[in-house]
């Protein structure tokens, strides 16, 4: 669906055109996890990519990082095609795409100090990276965190460290793949806002993937809704919220529970297909 791309068309930082990722399954037909997705990311923009489990949003994010080979279509970053990551180092140009993963317990190296992990990322910064203390300050952590190890921190703190590390590499595109899903509800909005602010200060665009629409609404300029590998709707956040076009988007929005104290049960709208 080409209308899904939408948004600013001039000087796109990242373009995804007709991306298809399919997995072979023994004894069954191939599964098209991403099924012809078009997406554009302009400089400095925050795009929320939402959808339910298995809609292909994480697979798409991994493909953008080169972690998943495309079956068809193309992903370009500043005019350079993104090729799947092999054994060799990523080309320098593509190192400007950085990712923050869902589980900070798995994405940080348990055997290295926080400083060592952030220093590693600073090495690939194209110019001068802020020093470790500054990076930690950006994510509201004290400088003495640097000498400690991941196991000494809570989930929320680890995710802050993961964000600091991603920003240390001087990214132009920051991808958050469900970065708040494993955190306490009271932390989710905070970490999401922090990630947006940090990306903005670093001059990076943010592709924020989440199934939590309430949080996406808070930080995204544009929202892209995926279902079964396809983009069903895309547009400015306010418009998607006030006037969703696709029945699937309406169903997603109706299902969000509201903390209004009134005991309103969320709606389950039926889909026709």
């Amino acid at each position: 669906m080409t209308a899904a791309a939408g948004g600013p068309d001039a000087a796109d930082l990242l373009t995804v055109a007709g991306a298809v990722v399919s997995y072979r399954r023994p004894g069954a037909s191939a599964l098209r996890a991403v099924d012809g997705v078009d997406l554009r990311l302009a400089p400095g923009e925050t795009v929320g990519l939402v959808g339910e489990s298995g809609c292909g949003k994480s697979t798409l994010a991994r493909a953008i990082c080169g972690l998943e080979p495309l079956t068809a279509g193309e992903i370009q970053f500043r005019g350079t095609p993104v090729r799947p990551l092999g054994l060799r180092r990523r080309p320098a140009a593509l190192q400007r795409i950085q990712m923050v993963f869902q589980n900070p317990y798995a994405s940080l190296n348990p055997r290295r100090t926080i400083r060592a992990q952030i220093e590693l990322a600073r090495e690939i910064h194209p110019s001068t990276a802020p020093d470790v203390a500054e990076l930690l300050a950006m994510v509201e952590l004290p400088a003495d965190v640097a000498t400690r190890y991941p196991h000494e921190f809570s989930g929320g703190q680890r995710q802050r460290i993961a964000i600091a590390r991603a920003v240390a590499a001087g990214p132009d595109v920051l991808i958050g793949d469900e970065p708040i899903a494993s955190l306490d509800a009271s932390l989710q909005a905070k970490i999401a806002t922090l990630m947006k602010d940090v990306a903005a200060r670093a001059g990076a665009s943010l592709l924020f993937i989440s199934h939590d629409l309430a949080v996406v609404r808070l930080i995204a300029d544009r929202v892209v809704v995926m279902r079964a590998g396809k983009v069903v709707e895309a547009g400015p956040t306010g418009q998607i919220w006030s006037n969703p076009q696709a029945p699937y988007t309406r169903r997603l929005l109706a299902a969000i529970p509201k903390a209004d104290g009134l005991g309103t049960l969320p709606e389950v709208l039926e889909l026709e297909d």
Binding site: S53, L187, A189, D212, A214, P257, A259, D260, E267, V268
Partner: protein
């Protein structure tokens, strides 16, 4: 305390440093409502593992026919409270205080006596149905085994009952579902199966620990509606443990907010969400993405 000894539920957390008020200054009344027959009444519940005080005097009343919410962040003791009601606290834990179920005291009850209550009077569902159901037993077996034990039904009667239960929780094609295994269901369907299993012996209380946290919003909406229906139609008392205040606001009638092993605020859903008295509760509400819309 060295870092390695730290209890995982109580991490050093700078994110929570904003609240400085002592949890001992519990606001609102933690006292019991007047009519609390047929339910669970917890008072002064304390639980200690080694030197860590996990529960530090929990008071909570969960009447039948109502949804009693227990909110709080990781490590607040909300899950441990639910597990202790079931007598499923870690074996090394030292428990004191009182958990009354009708006129029975559950703290210190012998395993044999507990087994008569668990499943039959007090049932539970957990966050991850793929972990709470046995992967190698068919749904039919998992829905009939405890029924035959507790209700002394025959195999055929138990299967009939299982089919009805799956209908009640709206699992499609219930009869065929009995022959299937957990991996053949989606997460939402599996949670429905887990709920059916919990309901099988007509329990009067259901402990639902983060029942929708692992599910998509649309699936969550369906499960919340199902739980509300069970409470309203069957008069089951539900203790809903969740960190998600939006879910809490949708389903709970009364809400207890826990922090550091204590209930810091307890009141009606509307009061706790709309006019929180304790600063900690207020900070939880303020951290919600849509709190501006509520004020």
């Amino acid at each position: 305390m060295s870092e390695s000894q730290q209890f995982p539920g109580a991490p050093i957390d700078l994110d929570k440093g904003v609240v400085t008020v002592s949890p001992a200054t519990a606001t609102s009344s933690t006292a019991a409502p007047a009519c609390a027959t047929d339910g669970i009444r917890i008072s002064g519940l304390r639980l200690k593992i080694g030197t860590a005080q996990i529960l530090d005097g929990v008071d909570l009343v969960a009447p039948a026919g109502q949804v009693t919410g227990v909110a709080g962040e990781s490590g607040s003791g909300k899950t441990m409270t639910g597990m202790t009601i079931l007598g499923l606290q870690p074996p090394t834990a030292q428990v004191s205080g009182s958990i009354r179920y009708d006129d029975r005291e559950l703290v210190g009850l012998r395993e044999r006596e507990l087994n008569k209550l668990r499943g039959k009077h007090i049932a539970a569902i957990f966050q991850d149905p793929t972990a709470s159901l046995h992967p190698m037993l068919s749904i039919g077996t998992q829905l009939t085994d405890h029924v035959r034990h507790h209700l002394k039904l025959s195999r055929r009667e138990a299967r009939e009952r299982a089919t009805e239960l799956l209908e009640k929780v709206r699992v499609p094609e219930p009869r065929a579902a009995l022959g299937k295994y957990p991996h053949q269901f989606s997460g939402g369907q599996l949670q429905r199966v887990a709920i059916a299993s919990a309901l099988a012996c007509d329990p009067r209380m259901l402990i639902a620990d983060e029942p929708t946290t692992a599910l998509d919003v649309t699936v969550q909406a369906g499960i919340l509606r199902l739980l509300r229906g069970l409470c309203d139609d069957l008069g089951i008392g539900i203790i809903l443990v969740t960190h998600d205040l939006a879910v809490m606001s949708s389903l709970a009638d009364t809400i207890a907010v826990m922090r550091h092993g204590k209930v810091v605020e307890f009141g009606s859903r509307y009061d706790v969400i709309r006019t929180p008295q304790h600063p900690y509760t207020r900070s939880l509400i303020d951290s919600l993405p849509d709190h501006q819309g509520v004020r």
